[in-house]
Symmetry: C2
Subunit: 198 residues, 2 copies
């Protein structure tokens, strides 16, 4: 880091923002295979939190790759950089007071743990969408599994690139068994335990 850079501190303290918003910031990190239900859960969760008056926002893998990470490919190195940037943006969003829902395959355990360590345990809730790959592939909402099987997408998580499941997530959701509503209820229970007014 350049030693000619000073860290500027905001004159608005975190506690001020919590008072204005009526809740603390939190990063809800959904991880799991493509097709495991992360985006669906994220946007439904955002809507519920928003309707209950919370400042909530979804950081989505697909959206990020259109913008901030449009210069990155899907190599192992670029995926790590992608998650690093997501973590940094999440940090900014939390600093701004938001409950942030991140929806990324994020296959590498160490990458996720770096985000958790940077934010602190208290600000990070890891949710594992543990849907079996057979179900994800059968859903194949985006047609990506078929392309991966045909060799058209290299390094596709679960097919030609590994997925490392969380060792100690706050919640495991098997979306092949649970309904959307059941998943959301379980997430809200966790968020309530973590101090969010939901």
């Amino acid at each position: 880091m350049n030693k000619n850079i000073r860290r500027e501190l905001s004159a608005v303290a975190r506690v001020d923002r919590e008072k204005l918003n009526g809740h603390k910031p939190l990063l809800i990190w959904l991880t799991g295979l493509s097709g495991s239900g992360k985006s669906t859960l994220s946007y439904h969760l955002e809507r519920i939190l928003f309707d209950r008056g919370l400042c909530a926002y979804v950081l989505d893998g697909d959206n990020m790759r259109h913008g901030l990470c449009s210069d990155l490919d899907f190599s192992a190195q670029a995926r790590t950089e992608n998650i690093r940037r997501v973590g940094e943006v999440a940090k900014i969003l939390l600093d701004a007071g938001l409950v942030t829902i991140s929806s990324f395959i994020s296959p590498v355990r160490e990458d996720r743990e770096k985000v958790r360590d940077a934010l602190g345990e208290d600000a990070f809730v890891e949710i594992f969408c543990s849907c079996p790959i057979e179900t994800c592939e059968a859903r194949d909402v985006k047609g990506l599994y078929q392309k991966a099987r045909e060799g058209l997408i290299p390094e596709f998580t679960g097919i030609s690139s590994p997925y490392e499941a969380p060792l100690n997530p706050a919640l495991i959701l098997d979306t092949s068994v649970l309904s959307l509503d059941e998943c959301l209820t379980k997430i809200l229970d966790v968020l309530r335990q973590r101090g969010l007014p939901v």
Copy 2:
């Protein structure tokens, strides 16, 4: 861009967020030499907006370089990438409903214009801190001008790297002449004209 990526749309519309927050999002972009008063103005402005109930947040050059842009140096190419990333983060913050104050030297006109074009004229307010370099150098709050003169900092804006002033900023503030309060009053006038309830 990878054609296997779809753009996910948030179920919470911009208008919903405006209703919850009581104001539209806006990017207030301060540009000018090191020492021209950008950070001081930004944090005072953030405090004022916050105290009036607006969701406001400062994106600061120094802070960003500790996090998201910690992999970038100060070469021309890296500075352009720095501003690109700032623009993308600002886009996310605006999407989340925040009034965002960005405080960056941002010496390249084209880099700033790309941010404006990506967000749209309505969402972007450019403020030029036009303090003469002699005054910035006399202030030298961070001791950077001295180091630049000694050749310890290469490509330092105003000394060994160019600064391109905005052609048509919403506001020009000569911080060598105007007081902090005068600058803030002028900024608030512009924000009021742009529809913010301040």
